[in-house]
Amino acid sequence: MTIAMPVPDAETLAKRERIAQALRSIVPGEGVIDAPEALRPWESDGLTAYRQPPLLVVLPETTAQVSAVLAWCHAESVKVVPRGAGTSLSGGALPLADAVLLGLGKFKRVLEIDYEDRVAVVQPGVTNLAITQAVEGRGFYYAPDPSSQIACTIGGNVAENSGGVHCLKYGLTTNNVLGAEIVLMDGEIVRLGGRHLDPGGLDLLGVVVGSEGLLGVVTEVTVRILPKPETARAVLVGFPDAEQAGACVAQVIAEGIIPAGMEMMDRPAIHAAEAFVQVGYPLDVGALLIVEVDGPAAECDFLIGEIARIAGANGAVTSRVSDNEAERMAFWAGRKAAFPAVGRISPDYLCMDGTIPRRRLPDVLRRMEELSAEYGLRVANVFHAGDGNLHPLILYDANVPGELDKAEAFGADILRLCVAVGGVLTGEHGVGIEKRDLMPEMFSEADLKQQQRVKCAFDPELLLNPGKVFPVLHRCAELGRMHVHHGALPHPELPRF
C-alpha cells in the first residue's frame, strides 16, 4: 500500500451532516447514501487492493441534479469523485474520505438511435454491452468492447478512453464518440461535439475523453454505431517461443492485414487458462496466438489462409482454424478467462497494462523473467499483440506480509521497462492512482505542468477527482505564472531570419 492519497480536509469531514442535508434537498428520496454500513459497497473500484469509504454517495437522476450537486459542492469547496460502474482497474473511481462520490448509475436510458446516420444517443449509465444490445436487432453494434463490457458504462468508457481486444481495427472510445454533454465542477452544463464529424473550434471532447473524471462529469454521450460484420473467424497458433510469435504478428501487419483481434499468451497464461476452462490449448508451446478476422465471408476465408501461411513461415508448431462459431468462441474462452484462471492458481494478482513497440517484445519478456526471479514472484503474460499492449499478471499472496508491496515494486519496474523501450505506462486501463506516481517516468515536469494547466481551465479549484493521475498537485495560480524577464532576450546576438 505505497500509494498515498491527499490528507482529508478536517473542515469537510466536520460538516458531513450539513452536506448530506443539502444534497438531499437536491436529490430527494433514496438518492443520498450516508449510513456507514451502506457506504461499504462503494469503497473501492476494480483496483480492490485500495479501499476507502466515501464521505457520502449521491445518485442523481437528471442533468439538472448533477449540475446542482456540483454547483453546491463547488461553492462549499467540497471534493467530488465521479463513478460509473466502478470497474476501473487503476483506481480512477477510488473514493476519498472527504469527497462526495457522485454515481451516474441511474442514467440508464438509450435516448435515441439513428440507423441511417449510424449514431446512438445514450445516458452515461448505460452499459457498453447494452448499446450493442439496443442496436443489434437492426444489424449494428458499438465497436469498443472492454472485457468488462457487461458491467462497465459508457460514461466510464468516455472517462477512461476504454479499448478492448478489437481496438487495433476499430479504435478506442475516443474514435467512436461524436458528442457529449458534460457538467463542469462549477455546475455549468456544456455540450461538446454533436452528431456531425469534425466540429470547428478546439477539440474539447477529445481531451475530455480519457481524462479520468478530472475535467467534467459526463451526462450524455453520442456514439457511432457500425454495421455488424457479416462473419468472424479465428485461428489458434502455437509457437515454440514468444519471439517467433512476435515475428508472426509483425509479418501479418507488414503484409497489410489488420486483424480484428490478435492476442498472445505466454506459457504460464496458457497453462492457467487451459486448467481452468479446458478448451484444448496446446500445452507444449511457449506462446499462443489467437488471430481473429471479421468482415465478409470471402474476406475472412482469404485472410485466414494468409495468416496460416505467415504463421507457418514463422515456425508455428500448431495451427487450428475455427470452422464454426462454437469453435471460435472456444478459442476465445481461454483468453477471456485468463484473469480468473490466474486467480485460481494464486491468491492474488496485479494486472499491469504497459504498451511497448512490438519489436521490443523479446527483450521485454526476457527482462521480465529476470525481474520475476529477483522478486521471487511469478508472472503470467497476456498481450494484445497487434497494438503492443502488455498485460503482465503478477502473482502474489496478500496474506504474506510485504508481498503486496513487493508485487507493486515489481509492477513499477515492468512499467519503467515499458517506458525505457519507448512505450507507455498504460495502454487502456488508465493512470488513476495505480500509475500516478510513475508519471514522471514518462513525462517531464514541463509536460505534466502543461497537462495540469488544462485541468485548471476546467476545474481551477482542483475539486474534481483529486489525487488521481498527477503525482504532484500544483495550485493553479502557481501554474499560471510566467517565468520570463521582460525584454531581456537570452541570446540577442543570434541572427533571427
Partner: protein, 377 residues
C-alpha cells in the same frame, strides 16, 4: 519571416515573442493562409523543421518533423504499402504539420477517422516558449490527457508542433468505385446511408449534383470482388450500380472531397448530420453549387452571396459551416468558424490560455482570439 532550424530554435523564437509581447503566426506551406481574417503579424515558417525521425512500418508508427511536405510523407509511406488513413489532401507545398493543425481529412474520414484520430503524439512549443511532449510513439496509449486531440485542428492557436507521431495503416491492395445515379439529394443520402450501413464495408461515399453517387470498396482482391458483387443486392431500390473506371472516378472523388471545382466567390465547408444535407441543399439560393462527401456529413457550397445564410441554415439543422474562401472584406467581417455556445467558447478560451497565456499565437485570424478576454472575464 522567421525560419527556425530546429525545435530549440523555435522555442527561443516563441519565448522571445512572449517576453516582448509580440504575436506570431505559425505557418507550414502557407497553402491555407487565406483562411480566416486578414491580419498583419510576424510569420514563423516551420519548413526548416524537415525530415523523418523514425519510421518502422511493422509498428504502424511514423515520427516526422512538422515542416516536412505532405507529399513527401505520403510518398514515403506509399513506398512501404502504407497510407495516412485520414486521406489528407492539400495544395502543393502543404506540410504534414499544417495539414494536421488544420484538421484536414478526405473522403475516407467517414470510416477511418480524421487527423485527430491518427495523431498519436507530438513535441510542441507552448506559448510560454516551453517544449512539451504529449501522447506517445505507440498505437495504444491512455497515459495522461490526450493533448494531441487538442492540437489537431487547433490551427496553431495553442502551440507550435515541432514533431508529430502519426499512426499509419496498410494501403488497401485494391480499390474499386461503384457508382449509381439518383434523382435527388435525398435519394443520394439514402443510398449512401444504405451503403455505409451495410455489411459491404464501404469505406467512402460521395455524391454530386448531377445525381452521381460514388461508393468506394477497398481491400484485398477476393474481398473487394465479393463485396462489389453483394452491393447491388444490398442497395436494391436505390438505383442500378456499376463499376466506374478509376480514370473516370478519380476526378469525381476529388471534386466531392475538396469542393475545389465549385464556382462562386464564397465557399463554405459544412459539417452536419448526414440526414440534414438534403435540407441544406434545398435551402440554398439559385445558382449555388455543392458537392457532398462523408455520406452527406460534409457539404461543400460555392456561392456568390456574401451573407451568412448558409451558416444560419447549417446551425438550424444541427450542423455548422466554416468559411474557407471569401473576399477579404467578408473574411474580416465573418468568423471562419461557426460560433459555439457561449459556455463552450469561454471554456475554449481558458484552454487556449492554458497553453498560451500571453496570446503569442492569437493573431486575430480567428474571432476566438479577440473574444478570449471578454469570455474569460
Amino acid at each position: 519571416m522567421l525560419e527556425p532550424r530546429d525545435a530549440a530554435d523555435l522555442a527561443q523564437i516563441v519565448a522571445d515573442a512572449a517576453a516582448q509581447g509580440r504575436r506570431l503566426e505559425l505557418r507550414g506551406g502557407g497553402t491555407k493562409a487565406g483562411f480566416g481574417a486578414p491580419r498583419a503579424v510576424d510569420v514563423v515558417s516551420l519548413r526548416g523543421l524537415h525530415g523523418v525521425v523514425d519510421y518502422d512500418p511493422a509498428e504502424l508508427v511514423l515520427t516526422v518533423r512538422a515542416g516536412t511536405p505532405l507529399a513527401e510523407v505520403e510518398a514515403l509511406v506509399a513506398g512501404e504499402g502504407q497510407m495516412l488513413a485520414f486521406e489528407p489532401w492539400g495544395d502543393t507545398g502543404a506540410t504534414i504539420g499544417g495539414t494536421v493543425a488544420a484538421g484536414v481529412a478526405g473522403s475516407r474520414r467517414v470510416t477511418a477517422g480524421s487527423a485527430r484520430d491518427h495523431l498519436l503524439g507530438l513535441t510542441a512549443i507552448s506559448g510560454r516558449g516551453e517544449v512539451f511532449v504529449a501522447g506517445a510513439k505507440v498505437v495504444k496509449n491512455v497515459t495522461g490527457y490526450d493533448l494531441p486531440k487538442l492540437m489537431a485542428g487547433s490551427w496553431g492557436r495553442l502551440g507550435a508542433m515541432a514533431e508529430l507521431t502519426l499512426k499509419v495503416l496498410p494501403d488497401p491492395r485494391e480499390v474499386v468505385t461503384m457508382a449509381l445515379r439518383v434523382d435527388s439529394p435525398a435519394a443520394a443520402h439514402a443510398a449512401m446511408a444504405a451503403a455505409l450501413g451495410s455489411t459491404a464495408d464501404v469505406s467512402a461515399a460521395a455524391a454530386l449534383p448531377d445525381g452521381t453517387v460514388l461508393l468506394r470498396v477497398a481491400g484485398f482482391a477476393p474481398s473487394v470482388a465479393a463485396r462489389c458483387a453483394a452491393l447491388p443486392g444490398l442497395l436494391a431500390g436505390h438505383g442500378a450500380l456499376s463499376v466506374m473506371a478509376p480514370v473516370e472516378a478519380a476526378p469525381l472523388w476529388r471534386r466531392a472531397m475538396t469542393g475545389a471545382d465549385l464556382t462562386g466567390s464564397v465557399r463554405w465547408d459544412v459539417h452536419l448530420p448526414p440526414r440534414a444535407a438534403p435540407g441544406l441543399i434545398a435551402a440554398l439560393p439559385e445558382g449555388a453549387e455543392w458537392s457532398m462527401d462523408w455520406g452527406g456529413g460534409r457539404l461543400w457550397v460555392g456561392i456568390d452571396q456574401e451573407d451568412e445564410a448558409v451558416r444560419a441554415a447549417a446551425a438550424a439543422l444541427g450542423g455548422e459551416a466554416r468559411l474557407v474562401l471569401a473576399p477579404e472584406a467578408m473574411r474580416a467581417r465573418v468568423p471562419a468558424f461557426q460560433p459555439r455556445a457561449r459556455g463552450v467558447m469561454a471554456l475554449e478560451a481558458r484552454v487556449r490560455r492554458a497553453f498560451d497565456p500571453q496570446d503569442v499565437f492569437a493573431t486575430g485570424r480567428f474571432a476566438e482570439d479577440a473574444d478570449a478576454d471578454s469570455l474569460s472575464a
